[in-house]
Amino acid sequence: MSTILNLPNQQDAQLPKLSYLNDGYGLKSWLLTGDHKRIAMLYLVSITFFFFIGASFAGVIRLELLTPQPDLVASDTYNKLFTMHGIVMIFLFLVPSVPATIGNFVLPIMVGAKDLAFPKINLLSWYLYVFAGIFILYALVSGGVDTGWTFTTPLSTHYLNTHVITAAVGVFIAGFSSIFTGLNFIVTVHRMRCPGMTWFRLPLFIWAHYATSILMVLGTPVLAITLVLVALERTVGIGVFDPTKGGDPLLFQHLFWFYSHPAVYIMILPGMAVISEVISTFSRKRVFGYTAVAFSSVAIAVFGFFVWAHHMFIMGVSNYSALVFSLLTMLVAVPSAIKIFNWSATLYKGSITFETPMLYAFGFMGLFTIGGLTGVFLGSMGMDIHLTETYFIVAHFHFVMVGGMLMAYLSGIHFWWPKMTGRMYPESMSKMSAVITFVGFILTFFPQFIVGYLGMPRRYHAYPPEFQVLNVLSTAGATVLGIGYLLPLLYMTWSLRYGKIAGSNPWQATGLEWQIQSPPLTENFIETPIMDHEAYDYEWLANKHEHEVTTVG
């Protein structure tokens, strides 16, 4: 049952005198900080920067595909564009997006801790991220990489004379940044919970981030060693992936996808974390089937490690292993469906309001479902052999990554913005941008399903004229989508100074982070909290308000 709670009157809300934002000024107090909230803000700024770099590549790609002829950029340049788009978006945006910004900010508060377990390692992970970004930017300005983000051998090791090693070093370093984030989260969840915070009282945000962290910690080192081998193959010619010396390029595929498939879940699970919080808050109901949703995150993490070879059905793996991997791939749909069904059941008879985070969350649920279901198509071998390396694949993973994760990221940023900055974003403007994003997204990527099904291959910058209509639709959609992403950048920046003051709990949400002032103090809590109720207990919140003496000022 949902509990009716009135949103607080924000007229008399005031910014707290002391908060993490004014605890020390100047560049040094930010660049040498150990505070998880400040590090989250550093991440937020740098991630936004790289997101728009990656997005500008996508813009040029779509512009080139407006016409069937190769007219805007040369084919080499086009190869570099989609490669850099992939590398920047995956390693510098999607992987760290929610965990390093929102996760970093709210995870310690949600478990009732003063900080993450290892603040210095947390700061180190941001510096590693920046170094990774510098390497990748250097690869970009010094001529680019054109291997595709997958660094496929022997293409990357023998045939291309571009800055493969520079980019690989960047990705290697970004990997360690994400390992350290994951390690910090796992240790924090195990060792830093406040009294009374049992595992099954943790918000589902934490469960999903815990599962993500396991994937980061176990998967990323394998990517690291794989990239070391690629670099050695390129420089010394060691032969481990070189068939002429007895090596096997397929081994590269196995090692690469052993990380990069779980990486897909690294990218989507934190999105699911956000959605659980948002759906519950704006329908004023405990998430339906809490335990099922919690364990479905863990199940996705576990299954996620055993499906990597579905990227290799056409690369000469044996039929038997393809069969097993196909079956396992379909099994991942089960925990994903558990989440979607439980969120829908949460909405049932909830008292739903349509604030911006909720609009984005609805967008996530619809788009992720389409993306996930087409994933099942691609997991079945017959379909995969027909559709792989076409725009169908491109549309599929953009539905999951952009329609899913980016929607969830924006949902989360809007949801926790009042907590992070103490100020509200402009509501009507942001609702409009949520709708624009959704429409733009559908227009961009839905035609790609069709054009891919009809046989347009990915990664080419020219195509037969009969595909033009669908490509024009897609490019038009990308323009709308671009506006949808620029708007939040503008009004969020505006709101930093002119936004309405939020007060501690503008959404009447139940998480521990909403029971403290916004923006929070440096050590989050004045005294260590004691968790004496279940997660998402709106009755508890209502009672708390009845017995609370309001003090202002």
Partner: protein
Amino acid sequence: MDSQAIATGHEESPEAHEHPPYLRHHFVTVEQQAETASFGMWLFLLTEIMFFGGLFMAYLLYRNWYYDAFVASSNTLGIGLGTTNTAVLILSSFTMAMGVYSAETRNRKGLLTSLSLTIMLGLVFLGIKTIEYHDKYTEHHIPGANFSVEDFVHPTDKRDVPLAPDMAQHAQLFFFLYFAMTGMHALHMIIGISILFILLVQAWHGAYTNGHTSTIDNFGLYWHFVDIVWIFLFPLLYLISRHPLK
């Protein structure tokens, strides 16, 4: 709001005052801090296992495919030097364990001795490894740079079976993996020895024998991990099928 289940441990011993200087601000007790650090270290070692796992995977795969070449190449490694190094490394793990024990018993002199011995043994290991690498250079067994299949097509040792020239080429793959795996292990040794130097200087100034042992504990875990990697590398590279059945 002061009842904290985890905060009870240190109230019993009066000399462990509320906030010893090494207790970081975001922990409630020293025990919590120590457990956190140790848990983090174990997780880091897990990532290291996955990191080395990629190389082990490649080695096992190619060993299976090019069995003859790998056995022939394995036979050319110096087993005497390898065994000595194994002994040196196990001994260094012992001295490291003594270091942890000394830190716990607040024995500054014992800690300094153990850490110095560990550094020395680590350097001995690297020295012997250098000799082995140099041998590979003189035998023309450096893959890529100066590799010669001569030894595998016309073995000088009577025990060895001559290989067909194309199979002999695959010996190069063995030597590449040999250098990659032992090199990666040596890199971890070098990092370990560098950290040991820092710990030694800090211990000289009285750190780690004042009750704050968790840094030494966790470094010990790292050192033993690097040791265990070698315990797996040694049989894989030097020992298995050393004398093939004729």
